[in-house]
């Protein structure tokens, strides 16, 4: 058939249909499934660790709040330190740790949503 009789698109469609390639690696499927299995295991470990760290974060926060409330009830010096100063020192440390942890949590959430950005 002469090229003049058919459109350029048909010509290229015909030409490119001959360029079909088969993946030349027979173990490809097994390799991918092996990596997927590893990924599944990693995800399980990751979600367990994440649940644990969330649990300890909540427990630590509650414990810190309770302790700072209890410290305000004590009016006697502790280890020779004025209870007011000790309470203040504890609250400053507690607030710093709490805010650092909240910041880490926000960054982690941002990273998680960036990981799942390939929405269709």
């Amino acid at each position: 058939m002469n090229e003049n009789n058919r459109s350029e698109d048909d010509f290229f469609r015909d030409l490119l249909s001959k360029s079909k390639l088969d993946l030349p690696f027979s173990d490809f499927e097994e390799n991918v499934m092996g990596q997927i299995e590893k990924e599944v295991l990693h995800q399980h470990d990751f979600s367990r660790e994440f649940r644990l760290s969330r649990f300890f974060f909540i427990m630590g926060s509650l414990f810190g709040i309770i302790l700072s409330v209890l410290l305000t009830q004590i009016h006697e010096p502790i280890f020779g330190i004025n209870s007011m100063n000790l309470t203040l020192l504890f609250e400053v440390i507690f607030a710093s740790v709490l805010f650092t942890q909240i910041d880490t949590l926000i960054k982690f959430r941002k990273w998680m949503s960036a990981k799942g950005e390939d929405q269709d």
């Binding site: 002469n2 090229e3 350029e8 698109d9 010509f11 290229f12 469609r13 015909d14 030409l15 490119l16 249909s17 001959k18 360029s19 079909k20 390639l21 088969d22 993946l23 030349p24 690696f25 490809f28 499927e29 390799n31 991918v32 499934m33 990596q35 997927i36 299995e37 990924e39 599944v40 995800q43 990981k115 799942g116 950005e117 390939d118 929405q119 269709d120």
Partner: protein
């Protein structure tokens, strides 16, 4: 059919992902090799893309075809791979004096296997964007809109790339063919 297997994977049956691998690995490989021009790197790219598709499958909402979504991941990974490895893909530069001869002789004088060899060699010599656009448009028969969705290129950009790709391919094919013919005749 894809939806059924996607649902199975999302419900915890990782093995159901094999169906998607078998169904799309060859096309994904064709697309990857269009960009990276190397068999082993293309295999790595497709492997990474499938693992990524598996881990992100929950973000696939079915608004587009699964193939479109998967090919977008493959194409992104392929361009990332050449960027990371600073791969310098040497593409064919047609000489200004070169005129395109009648390409019909190419189709008529060769058997299918020879044609396949020449076409794939030509695609390897072309720029990543041109060979990718030609494969997506003519081999996979994707529309300009679908290609735009997969690559992020604008419709007018794709038309320009396709136009340039057609010219480059004809030039490479005829140049290769003429060279080989002269060698055989001498």
């Amino acid at each position: 059919m894809d939806e059924l297997y996607i649902r199975k994977v999302l419900n915890g049956d990782s093995d159901a992902f094999r169906y998607l691998i078998r169904n799309y690995k060859d096309i994904a490989y064709s697309l990857a090799i269009s960009v990276v021009k190397d068999e082993y790197l293309a295999q790595d790219v497709v492997q990474i893309a499938f693992v990524k598709a598996f881990t992100k499958l929950s973000t696939f909402k079915g608004k587009s075809k699964f193939s479109t979504w998967l090919y977008r991941i493959v194409i992104n990974e392929a361009f990332n791979a050449i960027r990371k490895r600073k791969y310098e893909v040497v593409s064919f530069e047609g000489s200004p004096a070169f005129t395109t001869p009648d390409i019909d002789s190419f189709s008529l004088e060769m058997d299918a296997e020879e044609q396949r060899y020449y076409i794939n060699e030509a695609l390897k010599m072309m720029s990543a964007k041109e060979s990718l656009a030609l494969r997506l448009f003519y081999l996979e028969e994707n529309s300009i809109d679908e290609i735009s969705g997969m690559t992020g290129w604008t419709a007018s950009n794709i038309k320009v790339i396709l136009h340039r790709g057609r010219i480059t391919m004809k030039e490479i094919l005829m140049k290769q063919y003429d060279t080989d013919k002269k060698i055989l005749q001498s």
